[in-house]
């Protein structure tokens, strides 16, 4: 374990204790930050390690969220609903993986986005998803705390997975595929298999995240769940984290949520515009991702 890991672990453990001390406003903010981190790390499993940007990964987030919502509203226990939310996304990814895995990275990116939008339209039209009205729940007390700890657990798992991959031979193989797939193939690496599995694992975690989000938000509908802005935020953070893929998403999610929380309350209208300008400026000046100074 490196020194940075220990610091990180300490910080996370701190987070476990924090919620009991702070007021609901800060709790909500912290939860939002951890939620965004979960989204980012999940997407990064496929993006950082294999070079495939799933612009429409949120499709699985939404799908898992709906699965959870429908099950939970029909008296399925919380934990089981969450788990099934993740599993259903996993199955969905398994179904579409043969189609999507053949595509090159940028076509893949757009195809997943199309898929996400497609699911959004479907969700708005079907009854089971509540149409445009969505689904609302009655939640027990302390649901905010439960949501916070669930997100935190997810984040911890994702973080450990990311750290593990970064240092293991498995991760090395994946990086080789990302660098040069043809060469990887000619040294006996089954690139499609690795990609498919990463895709499914990403979907699984996104599904779980979706379930927890539903619980936290107490309400889900198509435009919230399949909102392209979620994809924008996620990939904005991942772009910033290009050169620091393991700790980057955590740091940038934090910065992002805090900063935009301040801006949002003061400049509601400018929120989107500033985000767009930030994206353009950042990619112009840091096309390889923002470099961490200590190297």
């Amino acid at each position: 374990m490196r020194k940075a890991d220990l610091i990180l672990l300490f910080l996370i453990l701190l987070l476990f204790v924090l919620p009991l001390q702070i007021n609901p406003y800060w709790l909500r903010l912290l939860t939002a930050f951890i939620f965004l981190s979960c989204l980012s790390y999940s997407h990064n499993l496929l993006f950082h390690f294999l070079g495939y940007p799933a612009f429409g990964g949120v499709a699985f987030f939404g799908f898992g969220a709906y699965t959870f919502s429908i099950l939970y509203n029909h008296s399925t226990p919380l934990l089981l609903s969450l788990l099934l939310g993740g599993v259903s996304s996993l199955i969905l990814s398994l179904l579409i993986s043969p189609i999507l895995m053949r595509l090159k990275s940028h076509y893949f990116a757009i195809a997943t986005l199309a898929f996400q939008l497609c699911l959004m339209e479907l969700a708005q039209n079907l009854e089971i998803t509540g149409g445009t009205k969505g689904i609302a729940f009655n939640l027990p007390e302390y649901s905010n705390l439960i949501a916070f700890y669930s997100f935190l657990t997810l984040l911890l798992t994702l973080l450990m997975l990311t750290l593990f991959l970064d240092r293991s031979r498995l991760g090395l193989t994946m990086k080789a595929i990302r660098e040069d797939e043809t060469t990887a193939l000619s040294v006996g690496i089954n690139a499609v298999l690795y990609r498919s599995i990463a895709f499914m694992v990403m979907a699984f975690f996104l599904g779980l995240t979706g379930g927890v989000f539903s619980f936290w938000n107490a309400y889900v509908d198509a435009s919230t769940l399949f909102n392209p802005m979620l994809s924008v935020k996620t990939f904005f953070i991942l772009t910033l984290s290009l050169s620091l893929p393991t700790y980057g998403p955590l740091l940038w999610s934090f910065f992002f949520e805090m900063l935009f929380e301040l801006l949002w309350s003061k400049f509601l209208m400018l929120h989107g515009l500033l985000l767009g300008i930030a994206i353009v400026l950042l990619i112009l000046f840091f096309p390889r991702g923002v470099v961490w100074k200590r190297s």
Binding site: K104, A109, I110, A111, C118, L273, G276, V280, L284
Partner: protein, 290 residues
């Protein structure tokens, strides 16, 4: 049975507009290898510009060429100042850039114009031609007519002018073109200029056909992308055919399945083509870049 003919006619009229819409996108993609995610927002920008001209009391149709020129200049700047800097990096980088621009332009327009639906009413809008029980709304007919003219102009330009040939040369073989003394960077600038010019230009048509808000850019980009995927890169006539296919699907699914399902069908069409025939039906060159 009657209704089928009407739907076919609607699709035909719509396809004229769709062709103009996708030609710019296809040009930019085919020459520079860039998939411009901000394309839709440029179209909307053109729509708002036309709207302002309309509100000021001028004849929009007269001003369309000016709008094209404005778009051309915008495109030149866009390519020179922003895109050219990022050409050497991974394709993802430029994708992010254009995506950022889409967000900026959309939100800028939203700030200025708010989210109310706007549209341009042409003086004869409520009139239609009636031919053998088929309805031809006059505004659609007009757009179709002007689309044809502009497409023909573009086609001639690409085919017979020196610049047009330079553009085609670069899209087919950048290295070879350089050996003939053509500067790719300059050609990129011109193609992007033409592409954005066309985007703004088709925005004018868009404003005439229906109401619009700043937030429709995503769908417009997707439609342009979809048509290019269906048609393949490299031929204007292929785009016309691809546009027709898309408009067919849209019109028929809109009628038989309901407006809500229209978009789902289009998206499934996109996914189908991306997986089964990414090269498109008429692709002269399967562009590996960008």
């Amino acid at each position: 049975m009657e209704i089928v003919f009407q739907l076919l006619l609607d699709a035909l009229l719509l396809s004229g507009f769709y062709t103009v819409l996708s030609v710019g996108f296809s040009l930019m993609w085919g020459v520079t290898g860039i998939i411009n995610l901000a394309y839709g927002s440029f179209i909307i920008l053109g729509a708002y510009l036309s709207y302002m001209i309309y509100m000021a009391g001028f004849d929009v149709l007269l001003f369309l060429p000016l709008i094209f020129i404005l778009g051309f200049l915008l495109g030149l700047f866009f390519q020179a100042l922003f895109v050219n800097r990022l050409m050497g990096y991974e394709p993802f980088t430029i994708l992010v850039l254009t995506f950022g621009f889409d967000v900026v332009i959309t939100n800028l327009l939203n700030l200025i114009f708010k989210a109310d639906i706007r549209s341009i009413s042409l003086p004869f809008e409520n009139f239609s031609l009636f031919i053998a029980d088929l309805i031809l709304p006059l505004n659609r007919l007009l757009v179709f007519f002007f689309s044809l003219i502009s497409l023909f102009a573009l086609y001639t330009f690409l085919r017979y002018s020196w610049t047009g040939r330079a553009i085609r040369a670069v899209s087919l073989d950048p290295v070879g073109a350089q050996l003939c003394g053509i500067k790719p960077k300059r050609v990129f600038m011109i193609s992007t200029g033409i592409a954005i010019g066309l985007a703004l230009f088709s925005g004018g048509f868009y404003a005439m056909l229906q109401g619009f808000t700043p937030f429709e850019s995503g769908w417009l980009t997707i439609r342009a992308f979809l048509i290019c995927v269906i048609a393949g890169l490299g031929s204007v006539s292929g785009l016309a055919f691809g546009s027709f296919i898309l408009s067919l699907f849209e019109v028929f699914s809109g009628f038989y399945l309901g407006e809500d399902w229209k978009d789902v069908v289009s998206l499934m069409l996109l996914i189908a083509f991306l997986t089964i025939r990414p090269r498109g039906l008429f692709g002269i060159r399967y562009h590996e870049k960008g």
